[in-house]
Assembly symmetry: D2
Homo-oligomer: 484 residues x 4
Amino acid sequence: MPLKTRDEYLESLRRMKKRIFMFGEEIKNFVDHPMIRPSINACAMTYELSHQPEYDEWMTAVSSLTGKRINRFTHLHQGTEDLIKKVKMQRLLGQKTGCCFQRCVGFDGFNAVDSVTFEIDQELGTDYNQRFRAYLRYIQENDLVVDGAMTDPKGNRRLSPSEQADPDMFVHMVGRRTNGIVIRGAKVHQTGAINSHEILVMPTLSLGELNKDYAVSFAIPADAEGVLYIYGRQSSDTRKLEGGAIDIGNPNFGGHEAVIIFNDVFVPWEKVFMCGEFKYSGLLVERFAGYHRQSYGGCKVGVGDVLIGAAQAIAKYQGLEKISHIKEKIIDMIHLNETLYACGIACSAEGKPTASGTYLIDLMLANVCKLNVTKFPYEIARLAQDIAGGLLVTMPSEKDFSHLEVGPYLNKYLKGVDTYSTECRQRILRLIENLTLGSGAVGYLTESMHGAGSPQAQRIMLGRLANLEYKEKLAKEIACIEEK
Amino acid sequence: MPLKTRDEYLESLRRMKKRIFMFGEEIKNFVDHPMIRPSINACAMTYELSHQPEYDEWMTAVSSLTGKRINRFTHLHQGTEDLIKKVKMQRLLGQKTGCCFQRCVGFDGFNAVDSVTFEIDQELGTDYNQRFRAYLRYIQENDLVVDGAMTDPKGNRRLSPSEQADPDMFVHMVGRRTNGIVIRGAKVHQTGAINSHEILVMPTLSLGELNKDYAVSFAIPADAEGVLYIYGRQSSDTRKLEGGAIDIGNPNFGGHEAVIIFNDVFVPWEKVFMCGEFKYSGLLVERFAGYHRQSYGGCKVGVGDVLIGAAQAIAKYQGLEKISHIKEKIIDMIHLNETLYACGIACSAEGKPTASGTYLIDLMLANVCKLNVTKFPYEIARLAQDIAGGLLVTMPSEKDFSHLEVGPYLNKYLKGVDTYSTECRQRILRLIENLTLGSGAVGYLTESMHGAGSPQAQRIMLGRLANLEYKEKLAKEIACIEEK
Amino acid sequence: MPLKTRDEYLESLRRMKKRIFMFGEEIKNFVDHPMIRPSINACAMTYELSHQPEYDEWMTAVSSLTGKRINRFTHLHQGTEDLIKKVKMQRLLGQKTGCCFQRCVGFDGFNAVDSVTFEIDQELGTDYNQRFRAYLRYIQENDLVVDGAMTDPKGNRRLSPSEQADPDMFVHMVGRRTNGIVIRGAKVHQTGAINSHEILVMPTLSLGELNKDYAVSFAIPADAEGVLYIYGRQSSDTRKLEGGAIDIGNPNFGGHEAVIIFNDVFVPWEKVFMCGEFKYSGLLVERFAGYHRQSYGGCKVGVGDVLIGAAQAIAKYQGLEKISHIKEKIIDMIHLNETLYACGIACSAEGKPTASGTYLIDLMLANVCKLNVTKFPYEIARLAQDIAGGLLVTMPSEKDFSHLEVGPYLNKYLKGVDTYSTECRQRILRLIENLTLGSGAVGYLTESMHGAGSPQAQRIMLGRLANLEYKEKLAKEIACIEEK
Amino acid sequence: MPLKTRDEYLESLRRMKKRIFMFGEEIKNFVDHPMIRPSINACAMTYELSHQPEYDEWMTAVSSLTGKRINRFTHLHQGTEDLIKKVKMQRLLGQKTGCCFQRCVGFDGFNAVDSVTFEIDQELGTDYNQRFRAYLRYIQENDLVVDGAMTDPKGNRRLSPSEQADPDMFVHMVGRRTNGIVIRGAKVHQTGAINSHEILVMPTLSLGELNKDYAVSFAIPADAEGVLYIYGRQSSDTRKLEGGAIDIGNPNFGGHEAVIIFNDVFVPWEKVFMCGEFKYSGLLVERFAGYHRQSYGGCKVGVGDVLIGAAQAIAKYQGLEKISHIKEKIIDMIHLNETLYACGIACSAEGKPTASGTYLIDLMLANVCKLNVTKFPYEIARLAQDIAGGLLVTMPSEKDFSHLEVGPYLNKYLKGVDTYSTECRQRILRLIENLTLGSGAVGYLTESMHGAGSPQAQRIMLGRLANLEYKEKLAKEIACIEEK
């Protein structure tokens, strides 16, 4: 059966020969590295829950390619129900991990590449979609995690790829052989890269003919020759190395991003899905981004649920849960969080089939969703800090709480309502700190801002999709205006 | 066929013997009264579009009671598709009228009364649902407009109905006869009351045993004996009486509210749908309000489209449509408007069947929808005023523009870009004025605030529906907290 | 003594021969016209309070030109204390009238023209400042109201004055004689124009050499030959003509704007203060706008006080003043209103002397002030509507309340807490309606948006005044960055 | 001369015998400890700048007690000019350190204790003010840093001090001797505690007679017997221990908070400033909080300047500084930051003398200031993250940049505009990370929320100080309402 267990997933990672660098050193056993493991745990939750019957409907699907039950993360959406279930699955995983679980980028990449390659083939007579579906069948059968790699370093933002001082600032083809192509460049902000079995590369922007060699999409094993990973730092990241269990905030789960270097990597033709068809690069970006903007209406909402729950818990620990302004702030948090969810659901319910049969979300509403995601989690986090109180950022380290001389003082003085232990309060404050200032804030806040495209990208889409001419016409009809 | 035409609707209104008061006088021919006619026109649009094939799918439905094609405004929702189509129909009508078209309250009332009476019957063995469905069949067959009457005057807001100094501050039963009951009280803010054929009365709040006689729901013809209407004033309302066509802003359409007095009105048993079952009054309010909070995710979005279109038009007339800050403001308006729409769609897509088979929206998301509606139209209106410029509120009357001496000066000096006539600019500014300060603002702004319940009512629902215990549990699991 | 009384002011207006048009007719006795009188009453309050000892310190000042006690509205600011007193006087007048009292524009014009003419003279050897001060002495001695006229119609906003299809879209000099100049054009949005004795004209934007003839500043009597006024419409304006005392909302006070046509008007040299010195037009606009952006930190705050008071009153009338969410909303209103006041005070306290000795506000903070004014009153108004409830926009006319048949019903059913009369509730709701949707909203909202320049104008100033290079340097020092 | 140099300050700290705990260990040489030193550097800047002539006016003052030139941080405000200079000094120091410089709490404590003790003496005939001024003279002469210690742990927030399960949850007198009193309890969130020479203790809330023993104010040397310090953790705090110079973000400066334990500490009478006069505890809290709420209108604005500068720099490094949406976001940041400054200036300009002669800020405006501070820095930080881009949270460690194999790749691929080094970009991103997610965010965000009292405390003050009765009266006068 294609559904891997958590342990099988961990084992499969151990078998990989990735070259990973962190803090100036190459990491050997990355699966058990304390900095990385929480991130692997989060991704492993996508396997674990797929075996729990109560989540079956959301976590798994019947493959449109093979008819077998597969992990939903490897599925092509066959209807609006699938799109809605995707969002619910993401909310669930956000709730269970309190962080980014890193398997959506590849998932969104599959669905985007599928419909775009189908349309390229229709117009140009190529066979990219057939190649891609063969590849995806392999992914589904083996229940693999795929890093969807889109964002290039970009250098000077006002210059196109070929105008850059360094031509490698965007991933591009630097050689063409009978059996495949050679690739150079880098992808940045690669969420979950270390935890992945494969990398699915896509271009990062709409391209013109001059930038033809940058219009490449392909897949490679994550440990292919010439691929290097450099682990990204996060706020408070090294708390994971301190050996404690409290100050870390979210002891078991976390996310990560990495820089991936493609050092003249060879890709065989059967895994090349676009190669020079520059006219379709914009479409691929738009669809991928659309799916990923939908995703945030699920995953960030799940993390929001955790933060709301944490705020409610700290209010209780401090004796404030019935105070009206606290209750109103909790309601504000709920309101913002559920508005995001509404956007995630709405763009899914309004999905439509593409030519390939794979369903696409409503692009306008998906962009609306993401634009709200660039703001509301920040306000939810602010409200959580308001409820939490200043101890959030002034509490001594957990080691001080167990120090012989000062530990007893801390346990005495930092107690809230006396029916709860000081440690309960410590733990929940550290979780709120994690989500609003620490490693968790990277995923919950900054990634909400820039993941799936920075806010201005969504605004531009809104302007393009709004059909202003039609709205103008409506206004003129009502005002009885006839322009000459 | 049950689908009335616009003209049949107007004729049917003319046949009614309503007693209507306005500006200290009783109105005789209300259908042709210039203050009232725009409001009737707006409601008539619900008939007109039901005959246009391109809108068929949204404007009509197949009755679950008779199998005939009926106006959707008289339909019981049979699935989430119906709920979504309702929202799309409402957006369409908002776009076509630029105002409240006043037929949703009854529509939402039908669906709420249907499922609640079914549940009363199930538990208490009454036959309310059968009565109600017979009544609704009559409405569907005759394609009638029904005023859904919920809001009582309320007097001192801190006192329950029976605690009020005057026991009539909430509608109540003051007599019980063999063939029916006698009713006294008033309903305020009655949107579309004058344009309706029938009134469907519901209680306005959750009631206890002491307030049993206030737990009444029933229907009466809108011109029943003992019923009086007093027309509500709106900002700039008398511009409709000035005889011009420009300063009125929206020359053909408008909305209205009225106070309805029930002066010991008799209701026969077959049209009584609740009579003393106080435990269900809260449920009826909650469901009705839920449907109506969904509605605003459609109708106000349609009006928002008109206002966005007007803002875009005035920008062009003034030569500003390509200026970046103007474009960003238009995008802000779109973003807010589409977020409302997303909420309307989402609560519909997440609808579930009630015991009666009639579908109910997702209550959490419907309340989220309405809570956003209490804010976003105000911000959209503010942005429209920003783009419009000060002339919006300083432009002389249309009569001055045709005055022999000063008219030419106004036409000369108040011209914008010279390819558009000054009158185009005048008209679009007056439309924006209408929607942000005038009669249209009553529906677009203040009704968005208070219609279907003031914002605090939605906030209370959010707090109740949020399942905070579950969210707390999520947070504690992630923080590894075990309370003792 | 220079301080006119209220009655002397009214009499002085009656003596003027202004040509005023409204609703397609020329108005003869404008002082007693029911549409105009509330506006004159508001301006008259600036005279009335100047005779009340408790307000002496704010309402009057000792002239720097004559040493006599004068109305502060004719004063040149001699220090930061004067600037702060100006703001306090404006808040007081907003509180006493609940509207725009229309005497600030001239006041701000005096102070701007004084320092700029002084600087022109210094550089070019002209004698404008001497002329201007002679003129101002006359104003002070006769305690006159002066309309500061800046805003031109502008036509196509992307074109400069001389590029317009019609060269008259900006006021300009069309003839030069030995004894003076001839002027043509129009000024729009002229607040208080009808109530003024004089008009002080200034250019509306920064000008280049090609637009030299548009760089004119001068004064004329408000009834000079060739000057026409066309009265601007406001939301709900004709309620003033209905003869009632309640639905009007603010029965005694109001504001107005007018279009002024300059139909080849002659100006003698002694009242010309700029004539072709185009390089100084931008400076004059910047200073005038700066003073006027300060003003809004006073007057709008006073009106805000009235609206907050009205919200508190309606909460009491409805029995809600102790409910926590109502109290929090009142606090939100106070917070926003006092933030505006803080900005008004701050830009005054940070004022500095110009070369002429007249004090100028801090331009950065004055622009910050106005930019907040373009948003906060809208939010205060929204909160007031939230507290007021829907009756704000659905209440029947006052005539219905005294109708024999339905009046008693309205008085019965629209009562709130029974210790207050229904009329109290009616009146306060009408005041809130006036300030949030009616004539008062024109001044409190839309004028807050566009008066003294639309928000983008303030944003541009913020960008210019922010000294970003210095801030960058600070950041680089802290980050220990040395660029090569 | 009383003005210590930076080095004298460092030396004076070295001479102290404080007991400080961190990460489960007692710290011996705290002055040179890499975790603590940046915080001492920030405080040392208050000495350094006091010797720089260009800042003389702001950094120093002439003592009202001795007539000597002293560091302004030890001054009693003698007029509104002093209050304004305080705010300017704080902005300057925020600009120079990019963090909290930790000397304001004591400063604000001096001014509050001075006027309150004066008033206690006036009413009760005590000699507290004389004692306090003698103490302050000593502080001024020796140019000492004093930790103003107000916030108690509070335990269950709904219970008063004496109702708590543990009576020590608020600092209280546990013994009274002929020569002084004995104190037990703790103070939390003690900003700059480690860097201080003295501690000035004040009660944290308004107290009734039952809590008389909690109404104590006094001073002690910071290394008095029985005093323990436990250092608070901050987000990313241990980056200071990594030995690098880039990832730390703000390499030289930082802030800290500590828990202070008072383990039966003896205080001689001459340093006791309140002892049981419970009626004045609320007044002392209100005044101290008022001054400290003013402070945030200076210091946080200075840090905001740094963050705005950093945002502008990263925009340049990435080639985006001329893009209109980036410029608008920078303007938004400026607008928010200068609004805070306006509030700081306004409450100072409106200051009034207390009975002791020491000037007090305007309490309403100071509370308005702080309430804005609880929101705007969060929005400024969000905008900075928007401009910075995702690299802010995904950039590898500085060690990776100098690694032999991957360093060259990082330097190649993470370059922006090629005229700036990759290191410039790294440094500025790390500074933005520091201020929005790291140690700096503790001071710039969470401390802005809770320092000087959480937002609800300011809201309560706004409600109390608003004089709603007067505003109601204004509204009723304008609406011509006469209640019977």
